[in-house]
Symmetry: C2
Subunit: 334 residues, 2 copies
């Protein structure tokens, strides 16, 4: 059973998920994952993954068989496990609990070589829909407080498998950074009676210099204080705190701008590794006035080093106005 432990100073939780038999020398970081070889995420290899929890596109009713367009399975090496009780306890001044949670893999395509920025908008819609649908299902488990969806693209951004996939982790606590973000939004709201993200969108639309692209429902910007060059935020223009409230027509619109955003990024910096993270309201705080769901896209163009680790302060060599201009004007291949 993995263990959740809380740092007694900063209140940051970590998951201690022991991999048995690992020796210190196993930690020397490998470069790229071995290409080729067997891929458990490919169509035809469904029997090698844990049983699927969701699949779209199959015309028959046999789970864990070919014929799907998107498939979600539990992670074979989960950071958290679904069975058990939380068992919160102290250990002197320290706090810990059992590593209860869900850890799922969204297999975004049956084809090994598809990459997100080249997929049809309809496929991207399925991906975004699967995030919503898995969240709606997991929200019913009262032990969970937060669900984070994220994608690591390429080894340099932390991906250990080549086949295009995202991940979902349901947590029994609201993570430190999300809680900080929400607390700050609440302070802003208490003072101004407005959502800070709504104010950001209003100002960005007025100035225009940090806009990457937009459609009638969504906007992608380079934020005013980006942690790294070409960081982007994708937000709904209208106030919406909770991702699971997206209806079908909003999903269409989101798929369109998300596709365009990722195409622009790849056109600007070909094959750049990246992470993206879906930030939505906590499970026990749905439809709140002070929070605004969004996707943060972090191209892996720099390394987190001592200064960033020590201070939470980032050094960025590209002003967001310049990055946005480049992303806005880059020639998209069709």
């Amino acid at each position: 059973m993995p263990e959740l432990r809380r740092d007694p100073i900063i209140g940051r939780w970590v998951i201690i998920a022991k991999e048995r038999g690992r020796r210190p020398t196993d930690f020397i970081i490998a470069e790229e994952p071995v290409r080729g070889g067997f891929c458990p995420l490919c169509e035809g290899n469904e029997h090698t993954t844990p049983h699927e929890v969701l699949a779209y596109g199959r015309s028959h009713f046999a789970p864990d068989t070919p014929g799907w367009s998107l498939r979600v399975v539990p992670n074979k090496f989960p950071a958290l496990v679904i069975e058990g009780d939380l068992d919160k306890e102290g250990e002197g001044i320290y706090d810990k609990m059992n590593g209860i949670g869900a850890h799922e893999v969204i297999i975004e395509t049956p084809r090994h070589d598809d990459v997100l920025h080249q997929m049809p908008v309809a496929q991207i819609k399925l991906i975004l829909m699967s995030y919503r649908d898995r969240m709606l299902d997991l929200m019913r488990d009262m032990r969970f407080r937060y669900i984070i969806v994220f994608k690591n693209f390429k080894r340099a951004a932390g991906a250990s498998l080549e086949h295009s996939h995202s991940q979902l982790i349901a947590l029994p606590i609201v993570p430190y950074l999300i809680q900080e973000e929400i607390n700050s939004c609440l302070r802003y709201f208490d003072y101004k009676e407005r959502c800070v993200f709504c104010d950001i969108i209003r100002q960005e639309l007025a100035t225009g210099s940090r806009i990457v692209c937009e459609n009638s429902n969504f906007i992608t910007i380079c934020p005013f204080a980006p942690r790294s060059p070409f960081e982007m935020w994708l937000l709904p223009k209208r106030h919406l705190s909770t991702y699971t409230d997206l209806d079908d027509s909003m999903l269409d619109s989101l798929a369109q701008i998300f596709s365009e955003t990722m195409k622009r990024l790849n056109a600007a910096i070909p094959n750049v590794p990246y992470n993206y993270m879906l930030h939505t309201s906590p499970l026990k705080q749905l439809n709140i006035e002070h929070y605004h769901w969004h996707i943060e896209i972090m191209p892996k163009t720099t390394m987190v080093a001592g200064f960033e680790w020590g201070t939470g302060f980032y050094i960025n060599t590209t002003p967001p106005e310049e990055a946005a201009k480049f992303l806005r004007e880059v020639r998209l291949l069709v």
Copy 2:
């Protein structure tokens, strides 16, 4: 002039330090730095760095000449600049100020191939002394609120030069993470009338399972909730909030345990890249009861990926008790 910008949500500051003429494709991350070639940090090349601000070991009085054992120079490509006024201002809902600060490079040795874990204890003492002495000097500048000292070892940990060096950055604000840490310590102190780090040391000494090494004045532990495998904290056993209060005999003792700690790390995971960061009290809060200076050592054994970016939550595959046991028992080469 670099610019400091504040994220309006989380309150995180970033330094926008534009490097002119950089194209997006320049961001594709290089593997290792080119070995060999000219090194500006080597003895004999003093004229290629900005004028030194400190040197130890020279027997004559000509600055920027050979004969030194340790040398500190301003960074040639500083993230922050020393000349100018802060000029704090708003830009709609955003906050910014001029990028005023100091950014220095501590050249730890005149020899290109020396590495920290193989240096004599006396050389390590010079390094630790230079941190103190540069801080004492920079503290007199009333524009500065915090000084962070850190080291990036090897390219994978963010080092862009091979020659053994650390860096110092003096900031006009207390960084977000440090402020959070200090606020938490203050809350603990208000409640318990004790320093949380002192309580941690007491508990670690009592249980013993997370101790890596200790001497009469200092202790190195693997913390209860480490962000990554083999993370270590080095702390003074007696309450001390401010690094610059270290006297000569304490520096001897610190050099001894710091040397041993780095030797143990390298024996456990040969040539592992790492970052370390010196956490000390803010410049306008010296000698406080609720904070405790320490060095955080983070071996680069994992990658920060979407989950960590999105949540501030870390997944660690090695319990600190196991890491500490290994580090404690590893055979040290003499």
